[in-house]
Each structure stands twice: as C-alpha cells, then as structure tokens.
C-alpha cells in the first residue's frame, strides 16, 4: 500500500484512506495515533508502513481515546498531529475531545462513518451531530481527490483558529480509489516545544469563559465557511435546487448527466459551521429545494430554519437509513421534478427483486482458534447466558455458531454478563478478544472482582487485531513500527486478583475442555485465557517463510464423525451422510482429528 502513498510521480491511484496519509505528509504532520476500526483502519495501517521512512511518528494506541489524547499532547507541543477512527470510536473519544475544543487544541480528527453498516455492528450514527454538541468544525469530502484537499485545509483551520477539526469520511470515500494529483513532501517536523494552553485559577470559571470564547470562535469560523471554496454553488436552470454534501454530490452529478438536466446546486463541504448567508442566497430564487445527504437530516433541518416560503424536501423523499447510490438519488430527483423514474431501469430492479438469491454471510475461517473455543464452551456450558464483544468473534452471534446472545460495544460484554449474573443468580459467560480486553476490558474485569461477581470470562488471545486487517496488539510482540514487549494477559488477570484463572491452548481440545469445566465449576470470577494465534496471520507467516503445513482428510466413515456437526468447520462437508474435507480450505488446525480420531488422518499428497 505504502508505495503509492510515497509516490514521486505527479499523480497516482489512491484510496480515500490513503489520500488522508498523503495529505498528512504534504502538510508536514509529525505525530499520528489511531486504534483500528473499519472503514478507517487503513489510515493507521499505511501510517505504520511509512512511519520509519518519513519520520512521521505513528502508534497504534490501546484505544481511540488514548490515541486522541496522545495526538493532543503532540499538538500542545507544537507538532502537527492527527488521529483517525471509525464513527463509534468517536463515542469513546468524546469525553476528551469536547474539553480539547475549550483548551484550543489544534488537532485533526478523522472519523469514518459507515452508512449501510458494511463493517459496523453497533450503530449507523451520523458523526455530524458531535459538531453541534461540541462546537467542532466539520469538513466533508466527497471523493479521494477532495479528501486530499480537505485534509490539508483541516490542518490550516486547526492551526489558524486553534481548534480541533473533524474530517468526516464515509465508507464509500474511504474505499474508492481514484487518480490523485500529488505535491512535494516537505521535511517532517516531529519535535516541538510544549506550551501550557491555559492558566488554571483555582476555580472552574475558566470553563464558562472557555465556552464563551468558543462561541465567538465559531462565529469567526462561520465567516470562513461563507467564503470557503469547500461550500460552492453550480449554476443551473429552473426554480428547483439541490443542496448536497459528501459522496451524494457525486451521485447528483451522475443523475444530472443521465437525465441531461442541470439544476442549481449547492455543495456543502464544510458542514459545521454552515454558511447561513450562502444558503439563504442560494435559496432566494428557488421555489423548492431537495437536500441530499446520507444518514440524518442535519443540513435539511438547518435549511428549514434559515428559509421562509420555500418548499424544503429531504428525508421525506430519501431515507435516513443505509448508504445512498445513484438510483436512490435518481428516485429523489425524479420525485421533486415530478418525472417518472426511467422505465428500463425500474424493470431491471423489479426483475432483480423478484429473483430469489441466497445470501452469503461471513463466517469464521477454517482453522480459526475462536471456533475451537466456541465448541468447548458450547459443550460444557450449554445453557448459561453468553455475552459477546467486538472482533472476529462477533461472528459467534450469527449462524452457524449462534453462541453469543448480545453484542454491544468494545468491552461491554463483561459488565453485561456481570449484570445478568447478579440478576439471575447464574454464572454467566463473557467473551472478549485480546485487543478489546486491552481497549476497554480491564476496568470491567476489576469491577467483577470488586463487586464479587460470578462469571466465566473467556479472553480470546489470538495475538492480533484480526478483523480490521491484522494490526498488531499488545500480545503480538511488536507495536506499529518496531518490536515491543509482549504483555502477558495472565499476569494482568492475576494482578486484578480474580478468584480463578487458567490459560489453555485451544488446539488441544482435551486440555481446553478440562480447563473450561474446572473454571466454570468454581464460584466467583473465573478467567480462561484461550490461546491460539489467528490462523490467517500464522499462515501468512508460513507462506513468507515458504513453509508448508499438514492438511487432513476423512479416510473412514466412522460414527465419531458425527461430533463434527457440533464443530461447524467450513472445510468439512457432509453429503448424503458422508463426510469430507475440502483440502483447499483445510489449514490443519487438528481439532477435527481430535474429535474424530478413528476417521480422520493427515492427508497424503
């Protein structure tokens, strides 16, 4: 990935996420920190790749809030800095981000929303609400090209006005690759001098003063927004206009071309503070306006407040739910123009909707350590409530595993299990991954001990932040850029003074079953550290070292194979009662061989 980001050519192909990194380099950013969260994960991945070569400091922090605070520390030290996260990462961060606006911290915060929730199990929230609550300027690019310009602009605003600036990306912008014009990368300045942003006077009066100062600053930024080229109009004919933001702008342009029309258009690239006068001027000669923005009606509501005698449409024509695309925008524009939706396209859509197409849902890889753990827990503890968490193992809440009852947010499973246990007098089970445990699990674990809970906590230690693309975590043995201490989860658990704990190798099924049985039978806080490296990461390392691995095959159809129905491995197939293993999928984890020893053996080449 990094090759293109460091390109010395005049133009290259970059994803939106990569464009953020290139813009950081061209802006002389010296400090960056992040916690992986898709659709923003690759921003950190690429920063990690280019860090050593460019001198731009990057770290994978233990969570989004830690990353933001570290970046703020660098900004207070005069070093340009940035942090990036997915939309609900901002929920974690907000506790610090809001006071940082009062403290005049010049920071750039990239937040990637995920309309349509392609990789989000928690919410489909719209980041733009945070701007209104926290008085945080918000820029919204609609393409990778704009992402490049907007990111540079964000640094200008942050430093000139001494304020954090949010860049709101969406999945479509993050994961679109297009041709970007490049400029020279200046020398990176990663060392500065710390200056206190405030003199504390022994009361909280500065907070109220800070609030007032912030409101005045927003007034100045409103003036900037009025003049900014990020908010621009395009002329058109008629008295029906379009106001749009983000990626929707591009669908609008496509629809104009398809319908061979050109309506007056206002594109909002700086959505907080909004350019009130520009909006009023744009609407002056119009009878109707359609606001086209993904997720919530934020601009639409403002337009309604700013105008009189204007018919304003938005979410009455277009949904607040899901990702937009050209046909959705085409529907909206056809509706406001009182035009029929093109017949040929409508027919294809109808025919498609009438065709039965089976969904194909994601599942845990063959050889995944989590599958072995789920098997053991299901076997020993069939009926206790089981709470899940965020990571690959959230797939355990879907078919075929169906083992986790609820997924809420990072670290939430432990305390949910605690509440359920206290309220049902039953020993419950919580699953959490290594990276998630470090992110938000430790305070929850201490709470279990302090308040005498009765729970089995299963920490799934696969040594990677796997779901977001194998970023290192504290058990990997390296950080973003170099070798690092391996943090021993057992030592942390011990230091938390839990009642019972043990580690088990998940690929040794007897050991795993015995350990689960023992820990679940004991009263109090029991912790199982289920150890097994992510097979994808392990196999990639083998491939690099050009090493091979064993695969397994069914050589006899004995009754012990029936146990494999409970194991649910995607490499094992059953047809007309006969079992077989797909050698292209088998990664040799050995668990099936342990469950059906008389029927399975190492595959002979």
């Amino acid at each position: 990935m990094s090759k293109e980001v460091l390109s010395k050519e005049k133009r290259t192909l970059l994803f939106g996420n990569e464009a953020v990194v290139r813009a950081c380099l061209e802006s002389g950013v010296g400090f960056s920190a992040s916690y992986p969260g898709t659709p923003a994960s690759e921003i950190g991945t690429v920063l990690a790749e280019i860090s050593k070569e460019t001198g731009l400091y990057f770290e994978w922090s233990t969570n989004e809030k830690v990353a933001l605070e570290a970046a703020a520390g660098a900004a207070f030290s005069g070093v340009k800095s940035i942090t990036a996260m997915k939309h609900y990462g901002l929920n974690v961060v907000s506790d610090s981000l809001l006071p940082l606006t009062y403290l005049e911290c010049p920071l750039v915060v990239v937040v990637a929303d995920d309309p349509g929730c392609f990789s989000s199990i928690e919410t489909e929230q719209d980041t733009r609400w945070y701007s209104k609550m926290g008085y945080i300027p918000m820029l919204e690019p609609s393409s990778p090209e704009e992402t490049m310009d907007v990111t540079k602009k964000a640094f200008e605003i942050a430093w000139k006005y001494k304020i954090p600036v949010i860049i709101r990306l969406t999945t479509r912008v993050c994961y679109t690759r297009s041709i970007i014009n490049l400029s020279k990368i200046p020398k990176i300045n990663s060392i500065g001098r710390f200056e206190k942003p405030i003199n504390y006077e022994g009361s909280c009066s500065h907070t109220v003063l800070g609030h007032e100062k912030l409101l005045n600053k927003i007034e100045l930024l409103k003036k900037l927004s009025e003049k900014s080229e990020l908010n621009f109009t395009e002329s058109g004919t008629g008295n029906i206009g379009i106001i749009t933001s983000g990626v929707s702008y591009r669908y609008v342009k496509e629809v104009f071309d398809d319908l061979k029309i050109k309506l007056p258009l206002l594109k909002i690239g700086m959505s907080y503070p909004l350019p009130d006068e520009k909006i009023k001027n744009f609407c002056k000669k119009l009878k109707k306006v359609l606001v086209i923005e993904e997720v919530d009606p934020i601009i639409e509501n403002e337009v309604k407040c700013l105008t009189n005698n204007l018919e304003v449409h938005g979410k009455d024509f277009l949904s607040s739910v899901g990702e937009y695309n050209t046909e959705i925008v085409l529907h909206g524009i056809s509706k406001i123009l009182n035009k029929k939706f093109p017949k040929d396209i409508e027919n294809i859509g109808k025919q498609y909707n009438n065709t039965e197409i089976e969904p194909r849902i994601p599942f845990l890889c063959a050889g995944c350590p989590h599958r072995a753990t789920f098997y053991a827990i299901r076997k020993i503890i069939p009926d206790a409530p089981k709470l899940g968490d965020i990571g690959c193992y959230l797939l355990g809440s879907w078919k075929p595993e169906k083992i986790e009852d609820i997924i809420v947010s990072m670290g939430a499973g432990i305390s949910l299990a605690h509440g359920v246990s206290k309220s049902t007098n039953k020993k419950t089970v919580a699953f959490i991954g290594d990276s998630t445990f470090f992110h938000a699990g430790v305070p929850a674990l201490l709470n279990l001990v302090y308040n005498k809970s009765d729970i089995l906590l299963v920490i799934l230690d696969n040594r990677w932040t796997a779901m977001t693309g194998h970023q290192p975590t504290l058990t990997t043995g390296r950080n973003a850029t170099e070798e690092a201490k391996i943090i021993d989860i057992a030592e942390i658990v011990k230091a938390c003074q839990v009642d019972n704990y043990a580690s088990a190798n998940v690929y040794n099924m007897n050991e795993l079953l015995e350990t689960v049985k023992d820990l679940y039978s004991k009263k109090g806080v029991s912790v199982l550290i289920a150890k097994g490296e992510c097979k994808l990461a392990y196999l990639r390392r083998l491939a690099k070292e050009k090493k091979n691995y064993f695969r397994f095959e069914v050589y006899q159809q004995n009754p012990d194979l029936k146990e494999l129905d409970n194991f649910k491995c995607p490499a094992i197939f059953k047809e007309n009662g006969k079992y077989s293993i797909d050698a292209n999928l088998c990664w040799g984890c050995t668990v099936c061989k342990q469950l059906a020893p008389s029927s399975i053996k190492i595959k002979t080449q």
Binding site: F118, S119, E327, P359, N584
Partner: protein, 189 residues
C-alpha cells in the same frame, strides 16, 4: 472509451486483487479510473463486489447505476447472479464455473444459477478456470490470472494485455510469476 465493470465473488477469492490489477493497467493506459470496494467482514467469506469505471471522460460517481454495467466478472456463479442487479441484456457476464461446495449456502447447481442469470443477459461467457488451472499448475490460486487472460482474449476486457500482465507481476510475489505466466499465456491462446 467507457467501460463499467463489476468484479464479484466472496471474501478470500481475490476480487479486490483483480480490481486493482485492472485499475492500474487502465491508469497506465492514461484513462480516468474510479474503483470502489468493500472491506471488513467480506474477508471472511461474505459476498463482495467491486465497481471499476474506466473512461476517457470525467467520472462522476464511483458506483455503477442499476442495470448499467458493461461487464461483470464473477468468480462464482451465485455471486454472478447477485451482481445481475447491474446487468442489462447487453452486459457481458463472465462466470467462473465453480463447482466446489459453498459453506452455509444451500447447494444450487451452477446450471440452475446460470439459467437464472440468462434472464438478465444472454451474453454469457463461462470459464472453468479452477479445473484448467489445477491441471496446468496444480494451484487454483492462479485461476484469477487465467480469468483475466480469458477476458482479454475474448475481447470483453478492452485493455492492453501487456499492461495487464505488468499489473499482475507488480502485485504477485516473484516466486509465483512463472506459474502465472504459464496460466496467462494459456488463457490467451
């Protein structure tokens, strides 16, 4: 020149790699390009689509309009049917005839899927890349190279074959170049 292409398959098949190879070849031929893809859960076996738009004019939207693709390259018949949302009677649909059993999906035979696909377009090309490549090099990981070569030979992927080959060699590890070359040349025959 305008070509709206959809590459589809399921997570792990190499959909994103094929898209990158095509996009970079198109860049080196001087075209405007937009390519959009989905990450995240798709890596673990879910459906995956990638839209590539190549044009000598400015490209507005990265997503292709319903019923407007020129070419669909599907690495699997079920995903070919799913991508028919973007097909019209003039869309060429290149389907890798995959016979390996899908996990968690009821078994629909490739034939019955292709019958359904034919209701969207009659311009269907079927290639048994997995079988051919397995015989040729013993490694079905090379199948995508065969599919690209086949699409070039059939003139449904309108890009320069040398640029595509260059783009492939930029992407794969050196030790796999030889076997891919064999597969690519066989497809072009």
């Amino acid at each position: 020149m305008k070509s709206d292409i959809i590459i589809t398959g399921y997570g792990g098949q190499g959909v994103l790699t094929i898209a990158e190879v095509i996009a970079k070849a198109a860049l080196s031929q001087g075209y405007n390009i937009s390519q959009t893809e989905l990450h995240g859960l798709a890596q673990r076996g879910g459906s995956l689509q990638c839209h590539i738009r190549i044009s000598d004019k400015k490209i507005n939207s990265e997503l292709i309009l319903v019923g407007s693709a020129d070419l669909i390259i599907a690495l699997d018949p079920l995903e070919a049917l799913r991508a028919c949302y973007w097909a019209n009677p003039n869309t060429t649909i290149l389907i890798n005839y995959k016979t390996s059993k899908p996990y968690l999906v009821e078994e629909l035979s490739p034939e019955s899927l292709i019958t359904k696909i034919k209701k969207f377009s009659k311009k269907i090309e079927i290639v048994k890349a997995d079988d051919i490549v397995e015989k040729l090099t013993g490694n079905i990981m090379d199948a995508n190279t065969y599919i690209l070569g086949y699409a070039l030979k059939k003139n449904i992927l309108i890009l320069n074959k040398d640029k595509i080959w260059k783009s492939i060699t930029d992407k794969i590890r050196p030790e796999f170049i030889e076997s891919n070359k064999k597969v690519f040349n066989e497809a072009l025959k």
